[in-house]
Symmetry: C2
Subunit: 539 residues, 2 copies
Amino acid sequence: MAQFMNTKEDIVTEAVDGIVAASGGKLARLDGYPHIRVVIRNDWDKSKVALVSGGGSGHEPAHAGFVGEGMLTAAVCGDVFASPSVDAVLAGILAVTGPAGCLLIVKNYTGDRLNFGLAAERARAFGLNVEMVVVDDDIALPDLPQARGVAGTLFVHKIAGALADQGKDLDTIAIAARKVISGTRSIGMSLDTCTVPGSPKEDRIPEGKAELGLGIHGEAGVEQVEFRSAREGIAAVVDKLALTMDHKTHIALLNNLGGASVLEMSVLLHELIGSPIAGQLSHVVGPASMMTSLDMRGFSVSVYAADASELRLLESSTELAAWPGLSEIKPITVEALPDGLTPITPLPSDHDETRVFLTDCCNVMIALEDDLNALDAKSGDGDTGTTLAGAARSLINAMDRLPLADHTQLYRAIGLELSQTMGGSSGVLLAIFFAATGDGASSGLPMREALKAGLQRMQEIGGANLGDRTMVDALAPALEALTHGLQEAAEAARSGANHTATIVKAKAGRASYISAKQLEGHVDPGAEAVARLFEHLAA
Amino acid sequence: MAQFMNTKEDIVTEAVDGIVAASGGKLARLDGYPHIRVVIRNDWDKSKVALVSGGGSGHEPAHAGFVGEGMLTAAVCGDVFASPSVDAVLAGILAVTGPAGCLLIVKNYTGDRLNFGLAAERARAFGLNVEMVVVDDDIALPDLPQARGVAGTLFVHKIAGALADQGKDLDTIAIAARKVISGTRSIGMSLDTCTVPGSPKEDRIPEGKAELGLGIHGEAGVEQVEFRSAREGIAAVVDKLALTMDHKTHIALLNNLGGASVLEMSVLLHELIGSPIAGQLSHVVGPASMMTSLDMRGFSVSVYAADASELRLLESSTELAAWPGLSEIKPITVEALPDGLTPITPLPSDHDETRVFLTDCCNVMIALEDDLNALDAKSGDGDTGTTLAGAARSLINAMDRLPLADHTQLYRAIGLELSQTMGGSSGVLLAIFFAATGDGASSGLPMREALKAGLQRMQEIGGANLGDRTMVDALAPALEALTHGLQEAAEAARSGANHTATIVKAKAGRASYISAKQLEGHVDPGAEAVARLFEHLAA
């Protein structure tokens, strides 16, 4: 599958330039492309301890996305999944380190350890005070003396970053960072491998399996496990974490490895906070993409038993969009449904004249069933007549429940009936028409104006304009002509309906998907229904 | 491909519960599962205008992720890609709407328009003041009278949200929202389709093609275009946008449709701010996943010519992690590389005894080349001898550049030479050893202690402990024994080296990948080199 890149040689420098350009001037980069790719804070005055991290690229937003107030001072970016050179790291250190010194935060991969380590030595030769901590939070291989550094690194960035921001000295920050590292545990799971730029994708994970305990460089997981659900996936991860967790309360960090959807990550969060370790989790960072493995469809969970002061450091604010913040996990507040979902049923009342009129209208629609269906069959699925006749029959059945003596309430009541009995968008639109007409009437509009207000609302919601080959083409002119009497209204409705037979480009409703040839010469069935109704009333 | 979900029936309710549980108590949901899935602010007092949005799920973080101070008041979540019911929308409206009224922000899809529209009518029947705006920012189909609502909806959420937060009245907010809608234009591009939960993935887009002008529900794009690079992809998108942009300065919103990696999104941003419309873009929101289409590997760009007051509303802060904030696009600051990348070269000085000693040591290593290679071939690639001999030859050649008369500087200088001439991790580790020894010496440690400090630093960086079958197994006991003289040191080195032949489980270095059988009975070549050197010096 293709990727949004230009060349694999330029991918890192272009990404870095993108990040710097969109930082609002808060970031800068060092000269030295293509080999030296260092992102630094633009406002850095060297009065505080500098925090420098980095490593191979492909883990974005780590690490350049975490450069800013309250987190890192500089990020040194290697090629995708490859350590930056000693010179690049040294450039980063020298660019930001002042009298307060510098802490290097390095993920435990040989290349990074060596290159950052040697760069530190060279910086020390200049008299700079440089400490280095190595993050090894991965528990995928419990017997490995050199555990990998993965997403738990973010705990170190945030806690050390907050301390540095407070002006703490290098020793204090290094000790705090080592404490966090010693207590942080992470493990990941993935349903698919990542796509390394310029390389073919390795299809290693068969359908129905997940890799557990994988690294962030596309290296294979420790084992392939059955994958049936998010719940089982979280259970497998949590099983491993639980073995390393004491009874203390922990902070969880839920990291998207890059390719899981935001929806999936929320489901994973739901499972995590319902998992066997949930009782030991007080807060969560994320879910968010923090330490990715390019586009890997996977996640990782990191846990750390932060003490009260560390919790405050994790909670402290930063403007960095890549840091999702820390949230307390709380029981879900479920609010009762509001009153009013059961619609207000108006008091039934009788009114002979209205009953007769309404029944008459309904009978017109019932009588039209076959004609309208036949018309609709020419350009649609032939059910307009049945839909309208069905609604008319329901309305006749509902007659005793209607407030026939209160015309203002009656429109709303008809709208409510139609919304409950008619399916499809036409039912909703007619319901909106009658409800809005009722609104207009109740706010004191004369009936004709109320009907026009109803039409306008229906057009707003439905999106149909005059000439769009809908019932509007008959109803709108009819309501306009109503000032001059029913006869004029009927004539206007008929003229409007007939005109729809010449409209070959429908712009709204289902007919908009039909070709011109199929439409030509056929009146729109909705418009025809309106015309027939007015003609009957005028007769 | 499998997804991180349990069942497609539960995916939305579980995701909603995940979001609410991790909101730190800031969000609640309404009772009414499974059909009514409404996320609301938990601290809402109805004194301000409520903003209600929503629609089908699958676009996370839209819309539940944008519920909170300064943005939405409630989000109504339908099934994946399906409008929520009228009842669900009404429940949302009723739950949060007070005397100040409510604005519904709806993306222009028929189902959403109708269901939100009818819910609005039903809410009005309760006397509530409800307005509705319909976002139609998609320009994929310029002739379509009903343009779709896509990521530009975020501009409306943020601007209306900030106004509501300020206590503005419903009319003011609705007018502002309609202004934003009328000026917002969006278009998307994707390299792959999305995976709808529970449905097989449609492989519609062939290799080398991208879909331009696609919607956010997996519907096909307007056209498939050649895709060769991020630059061409952005160019195709920008071409369409440019046609709709006047000369004003615009805000861009760069949205990840869900499956593009963070690295790719930064490259796209780089291309966007170098594109032909760059001169008209002052700020950017993102790149971030804001209005996704599940896991679609695609992006969209939205533009809006915000005026000064709208810019302030977009810039106003919100605690919502899903809103990435607005950043000014500025020219990239490129800082000059710091001095010091060219290592400090110590003043050369001569000292006969040192020259003889050092040359002697180097010659030992050169003489050992074949023996060490043979030993290494038993458990590795047989180049340890060549590597060390090469370094020794380089050091002899460098002799005239070294500060032979200044022993403190000499160690650092040797480290520097080794780091520049030896390849691989062993070169870096020896460079670190000598550099750190020099550090120790320059800080006043006696030579033996300085060497031990160098060893310790090398172990820290390299990660090798005693018993890990490395040169440390000879060097550490040798330096310990050095108090008693060279003879004792040589004996300790030999004993340590020989012991490595019995270590069949290497824990560091390349030998850790080799099986026990291949290692047994063979002394580690690095340890052997150390032993031979001490034996020579003691002889």
